[in-house]
Structure formats: C-alpha cells, structure tokens
C-alpha cells in the first residue's frame, strides 16, 4: 500500500512539474496539473463526507443541530458561494460593466433583510424545511405540498446554473465536449451528495470555503502584483485598473508587460465598463434597481439558505452565523470585480477572440501568465464552489421531496430508513433533471441563478415575511399570495422561453424580465395575501399563541 502511495505521489509530482512548465492554452487540451488538483480536492470532499456521513434523518436534514455559529457562517458562505459567485459574478461585470454590480449588491444586501426580519425567528419556529414551516404556519397539507414543489423548482432552477459552471470547468480541465463535461460533473456531485448527506455536507462546506477562498485569492494577488497595482489588498488595488479602463492604457504605459498571447497590457478608453447603466451594456437604470431588489428578497426566500438556520443550536447562533456568513461571502464578492477588470484589459485585443464570459476568471489568470498549477487550483476552486452549493440544494430539494411531500403528505408512518431512501431517490431524480436542463447553455450562470431568486422572492419570501410578522396572515391569504406569485413567475418565464411570437413581447420582457420579475411579483403576492386574509376567517388561536409564545417571546 505504501509503495502504491509512493508511486502515486511520484507520478503526481512529475505530472505537476511538467504541467507547471507547460505553455498555457486557453482551451482544448487535457490539463494534467489542474486535473490532479481537482481529483485530489474531490477525493478530500468524499473522504470527509464518508467520515461525517448522515446516520439518521435528523443528521441528514439538519446536521444534528450541532454546528457552531462560525462554522455555520462558513457553511452559509460556502453554500452561497456558488459557480454564480465564483465564475458568474466576474462574467456579469465583464459583459455588462456597472450593471453587473447589481448582482453583487443583490446577493449580499439580501442577507441584511434575512437577518433582521427572519433568521432568529425561523430558528425559533423550529422546523426542518421551508415547506415544514409553510405547512405548519398556514395549517395546510396542500400548502406544505405546494411549498415543497416550489422548493424543488427553486433548487432545480438554481442547480442548472451550477451544473453549467461545473460543465465549463470540467470542459476546461479535461479538454472534452461541454455536454460530456456536464454529465461527468453531474455524476460526481451526485455521488458525493448521496454518500455524505447534510452532516457531511456541512463539514465539507467549511473545508470547501477555505479551498474556494484561497483558490480565488492567490491568483488575484499575483495578477494585481503583475499589473503593479496595490497588491497587498487587491480588493482595493484593482480600483486603479477600473480607472485605467475608463481612461485607456496607452502602449507607452504598459512597461513591456504582455499577456500569454503576446499582447500589451493596453486598452482603448472604455468608460462603458464602469459608467452606470451605459447604453453600450444594453441595460437600464430600472433593470439595475429591479435586479438588485429581486435578488435581495430572493435571498431571504431561498429554501436552502433558510434551511441553514435549522442547523445551529440557538436563535442567537442563527443571527450571528449570518454576520459571519456575510463577512465570509463578502471576501469573495469584494474580489470578483477585480477579475473582470483585469480580464477586460487582458482580453482587450481582438485577437484574444470571443471568450466564454462564464469562464473569464480562469481565462484572466491564464492570460495574465499565472502559473498553470495556480490556474488549475482556481478552476478546482470554481468546481468546489459549484459542488458546495449543489450539494446543499440537492439536500434541500430531496428534503422537500422526502420529508414534505412523501412523509408529511402521503406516508406519515414511514420508517426513518425508508425516509432516507426516498430522500436519496429524490436526489437522483433532481440531478438527472438538472443535468438535462444544463446541456443547452440558456444564459450566463448568474442570470440562470437569478431566476431561482425571483421565483423564491415571489413565492416563499412573502409566506415567511407575513407568516412571521403578521399573525393575521391565514391559509386563504397564503394561497392567494402564492397563486399571484406563481402567475407572475409563469408569465415572465413563458415570455422568456417562447420569445417574440407572443403579444406585447417587448413590454413584458422588459418589465417582467426573467432575471428580475420578483420586483413586482413579491409586492403583488404580499398585497394579495393581506387582502384575502383580511376578508376571510382569522388564523387559528393555537397558531397565534405559538407565534407569540415560541417565536416572538
């Protein structure tokens, strides 16, 4: 065994050394160094998953409620820092300039809402899943089932973007076709989730956070140093790069610095990169506001995010875990725009060609002549980011499938062993659906994920907001609110999928865009909930007593 390990280590070291000296290629060939790093990281995840694997349903759903607030904060951050954050954020700013910052603000600002309006109260309510809360609070098995279905839909929509990111990174590392890369990546993440369950996932998430953030920051320090900006804090240092893009970098100021294709670090004046709602980006002021708002309320309505508050011992821990989680998240979100700025300069020459925006983080490191092994670590970090989120989403989706649909709605007497089996079957079914949906590349990763946020903002967010803060919200009101939220979502998504053959296409696709329809859907759902609740029978006394005595006392 020792010989085998020594042989593997020897071969690995040789390959890593070869890879380190190999010339950088943007696409195409199999990259041995990055592949070894990726495999090593995935093996670590699986071993940790096996070591901390779920032993019963309480472990599977809520990690035994034994995770500390800092640990939970890291898990929140890892769960949150998906392919959309790691790869998609820089892609959005690279493609749309200042408009991309609406996603940065939306995906961080929502945590303020989540914390001050919900986190502690959700933990005090003491349920396992979002659908559990909805079913109990609104005393309705049908709403629990509907909540579960919505949670599954949100998880699927969210996962599609992640699988796209996994596919892009597997494609880049293995030099294979995108479709095959999605299938292989999907199979690996499914195996990992099935083995570990949520206890393993939570432990893994803490390890994943460390890997994700280190792999993201190391190339950034190197790039900032190469560009001769303030490299000690690249999150501030890249500000000069933004200003340089706006004013342009003349050839004389590039100090003989070249990208990996031999082009100067020079760029023509490009104010459209940083100026607000620039016409060149094709995005307006309204769209900026609508996206930021939709993402923020969507954050407070995502089942897999809400579910993280069930794994801490106390409501106070739930609150503080948000602070830690947001801080850990912000470390990445402060850094992502730097990649887009450097990527903009390094790909300014038309010869670089049209790069896949969602892989711009990796291309930027490549074009910046960062060591191929470090670029490989970066790509593996991207895969880790997608893995950590997908595993959390698959657990949230399978929890909704097994716990809320199967057990609570159909077979309340089923054994824990059977519940676990159903949860795992649910995970497999979801993974297959997501893989199929991820094969055509519909949009940028960040935009695909934004659909899940708008869906959550229109449906789950109003139910939690009113459910916690207004005891007058009753079952009928909740049903009305969900119907309105789903109608708005259906109209937006139908127009987005069918296209301009539908009447008033331009009007609807602008005001109800697929990435931001919650800006109007959520307020309408809340209004419908309030009006119908006021007109119908009050919430039962025991629910109101529970809210006062258990949630708000």
């Amino acid at each position: 065994m020792k010989k085998a390990i020594l042989l593997f280590t020897g071969l690995t070291s040789t390959h890593l050394l070869q890879a380190a000296t190999a010339a950088t290629e943007l696409e195409g060939s199999f990259k041995i160094g990055p592949a070894i790093i990726l495999i090593a990281i995935l093996l670590t995840f699986i071993l940790v998953g096996i070591y901390f694997r779920a032993k019963d349903t309480t472990d599977y759903y809520a990690a035994g409620r034994g995770i500390s607030k800092v640990g939970s904060g890291m898990a929140i951050a890892s769960n949150w820092m998906s392919a959309a954050s790691f790869l998609g954020m820089a892609a959005l700013m690279y493609g749309y300039g200042y408009h991309g910052l609406a996603y940065v603000v939306g995906w961080t600002g929502g945590y303020v809402l989540l914390l001050i309006l919900m986190a502690g109260q959700i933990r005090k309510y003491g349920k396992y899943t979002a659908a559990d809360f909805i079913g109990d609070r609104y005393y309705s098995r049908a709403l629990r089932a509907l909540g579960a279905v919505i949670a599954i839909l949100i998880s699927i929509a969210y996962c599609v973007g992640q699988f796209g990111g996994i596919g892009l990174m597997f494609k880049w590392i293995m030099g294979i076709d995108y479709a095959l890369a999605v299938i292989i990546g999907g199979a690996v993440v499914l195996t990992y989730t099935l083995i570990s369950g949520m206890l393993g996932v939570t432990k893994n998430m803490q390890i994943q956070y460390v890997i994700i953030i280190i792999s993201f920051l190391i190339p950034l320090f190197i790039l900032t140093y190469k560009f001769d900006y303030f490299w000690l804090i690249p999150q501030i240092g890249y500000g000069s790069a933004v200003s340089d893009i706006v004013s342009g970098i003349p050839l004389a100021e590039t100090q003989q610095l070249y990208n990996s294709l031999g082009h100067h670090f020079a760029i023509a004046p490009s104010p459209e990169y940083a100026m607000p709602w620039d016409t060149a980006s094709g995005q307006s002021f309204f769209q900026w506001i609508a996206i930021a708002f939709s993402l923020m309320i969507g954050t407070a309505g995502l089942p897999h995010v809400i579910q993280r508050f069930y794994v801490v011992p106390k409501a106070r821990d739930a609150r503080w875990s948000v602070v830690w989680g947001l801080f850990f998240i912000c470390i990445l979100y402060w850094s992502a725009p730097a990649y887009s700025a450097f990527g903009k300069i390094l790909s300014a020459n038309p010869e670089v060609g049209k790069l896949a925006k969602d892989a711009i983080v990796v291309y930027t490191a490549q074009l910046g002549n960062v060591n191929p092994l470090i670029v490989g670590l970066l790509a593996a970090g991207g895969v880790s980011a997608a893995f950590s989120t997908v595993s959390g989403l698959l657990v949230a989706g399978s929890s909704a499938f097994a716990h809320d649909l199967y057990v609570k709605s159909f077979r309340p007497d089923s054994s824990p062993r059977r519940q676990l089996l159903v949860a795992r079957i649910g995970t497999v079914i979801m993974a297959i659906i997501v893989t199929l949906l991820a094969l055509p590349q519909w949009a940028l990763i960040g935009q695909l994920v934004a659909i899940a946020f708008s869906l959550a903002g229109c449906t789950i967010f109003p139910l939690f907001l009113l459910g916690i803060w207004w005891s007058g919200s009753n079952r009928q009101g909740a049903v009305a609110g969900v119907i309105v939220g789903l109608l708005v979502s259906a109209v937006s998504l139908t127009y987005s999928l069918v296209g301009d053959s539908l009447p008033y296409y331009d009007f609807v696709s602008y005001w109800l865009g697929a990435w931001y329809f919650a800006w109007i859907g959520a307020p309408l759902a809340i209004i419908a909930n309030i009006i119908v609740s006021k007109l119908t029978t009050p919430t039962p006394l025991e629910i109101r007593k529970f809210l006062i005595e258990n949630v708000h006392s």
Binding site: G239, M275, T279, V323
Partner: protein, 250 residues
C-alpha cells in the same frame, strides 16, 4: 366561543410588548439606512448624470456631415476612421453593430489612400487576411511579423500616433471586402451606434476618484458591502442587548 382576531395577535407595526416595540424601532432604522444606502445612492447617480461624449465622439460629430455628403477632406476622413476604430477597439460590440462599423471604417480607409498607397497597401492587407485565415495560434512568427509590418505601414497613413493602442488593433480591422462600397444601412445606423458606444452617463460622482476607483464604483462594489456587514453586526449586538435588557433567553 368565537375567536377574536386581536387575541394573541402579532403585528410588526403594532407591537404589544416593550421588547417588540424596541425591536420594531431598531428594524425600521436599519432597513431605512439599508434602503437609502442602496437605492438612494443609485437615484442620486441617476439625477446627477449627464450624457458625456468621449473625445472620439466629438471627432465623429465634426466629421460625419462631410463624410455623409461625400465631401470630406483627408483630415476629416482620418478623424472619422479614428473614431470608428475607437469603437471597434472596445471589448464588447454587438455583432450587427460591428458589421456596420467595419464597413464605415474600411470605406473611410479606402478613401484616405491615394492610388499609389492603394497599390502598395491593399495587396499587403490581402496577404495578411490570407495568413490570418490559415494560422492556428496568433503567436506564429510569420503572422506576428506580417501584422507588425502592416501596422507600421498603415498607422501613419491614418494619422495614428506611436503610443496609441489603436495601432495594435488596426491590422485586425482592415478588411478589403468592406472597402469598395458603403452600404445604405451603414449610413443610416452609424450615428446611433457611435452614440451608443461613445456617450456615457457621467457626473461628479463618477469623475471623482477615491482610492483609485471612480467613486460611484467604489461605493457600490466595496463600501456598500462593508455597510451590509456592519448593519448585520449592529443588529446582532442590539438584539443581544435587548434580550439581556428584557431578560429573554434564546
């Protein structure tokens, strides 16, 4: 007995206990700061902004009437070609817009060259086009050499100075197929395209520099995130204090 809606009633806006009242006030304060910080600043940006043209747009505006009426002199044509090349040098251009710009730029180049220059330069551009179609990687020595030679010959003819980054782009945008004629849609669409890429929303908030950033960019990309973490920290501290004050345990 009929249940009264007001028994055990919870409403965020009508708190019934001192703890709930204190919590409501705290939440209202924090949400107000949050709203003003995010949306208030973007609205301020919107209110203060003015459409500000790049230098290339001013060159385009001054040369366009003559180019359009086919009466442009050499200097006007050079200004016009430089302005269109500035847009072609941007990283992202819509494919349809690029086709229009290619046509306008190459037609202007053709008009700038005298007969002798055409005889010397056009075969060289054609050779480079053929080489470009053949190469597998852009670092092939023959290709790099041909590109540099073409750049050295063409840039002075168009008045592009040594230090200008557009020199690097120039050989890649020269296209003999676009030189012979200007399409009607080019004449129609070009002013709108130039405005789209060369006029930007700028104000004191975008022009002022802070830590190297344009201020508005720093505010949105860095400062707002710091504020979010601070608001969360402040809420947790305040909630802990409130719980202690009212002797509430989690």
């Amino acid at each position: 007995m009929e249940e009264n809606r007001n028994d055990y009633h919870i409403s965020f806006f009508k708190p019934t206990t001192p703890r709930a009242l204190a919590n409501r006030n705290m939440v209202i304060w924090l949400v107000s700061i949050w709203v003003v910080a995010i949306f208030g600043f973007q609205i301020a940006l919107r209110l203060l902004e003015k459409p500000t043209p790049e230098a290339a747009y001013k060159s385009f505006e001054s040369s366009w009437p003559s180019v359009k009426s086919n009466t442009a002199n050499q200097e006007e044509l050079k200004d016009f070609a430089g302005a269109t090349l500035s847009v072609l040098g941007k990283v992202f251009i819509d494919a349809g817009d690029k086709a229009v710009l290619d046509n306008a730029f190459n037609r202007a180049v053709y008009q700038i060259l005298d007969e002798g220059q055409k005889e010397a330069l056009i075969p060289e551009i054609k050779n480079f086009e053929a080489l470009k179609a053949e190469i597998k990687v852009v670092t092939e020595p023959d290709y790099v050499k041909a590109k540099k030679e073409l750049m050295t010959k063409a840039a002075p003819l168009l008045g592009i100075p040594e230090n200008n980054v557009l020199r690097d782009i120039l050989p890649l945008e020269l296209n003999t197929a676009e030189m012979n004629t200007v399409r009607p849609e080019t004449m129609k669409q070009l002013p709108g395209i130039m405005e789209k890429y060369l006029v930007h929303n700028q104000s004191v908030l975008t022009n002022f520099k802070f830590l190297g950033f344009p201020f508005h960019y720093f505010y949105t990309a860095v400062l707002l995130l710091i504020l979010f973490v601070f608001l969360c920290w402040l809420y947790c501290i305040s909630a802990d204090r409130l719980n202690k004050k009212f002797d509430i345990s989690d």
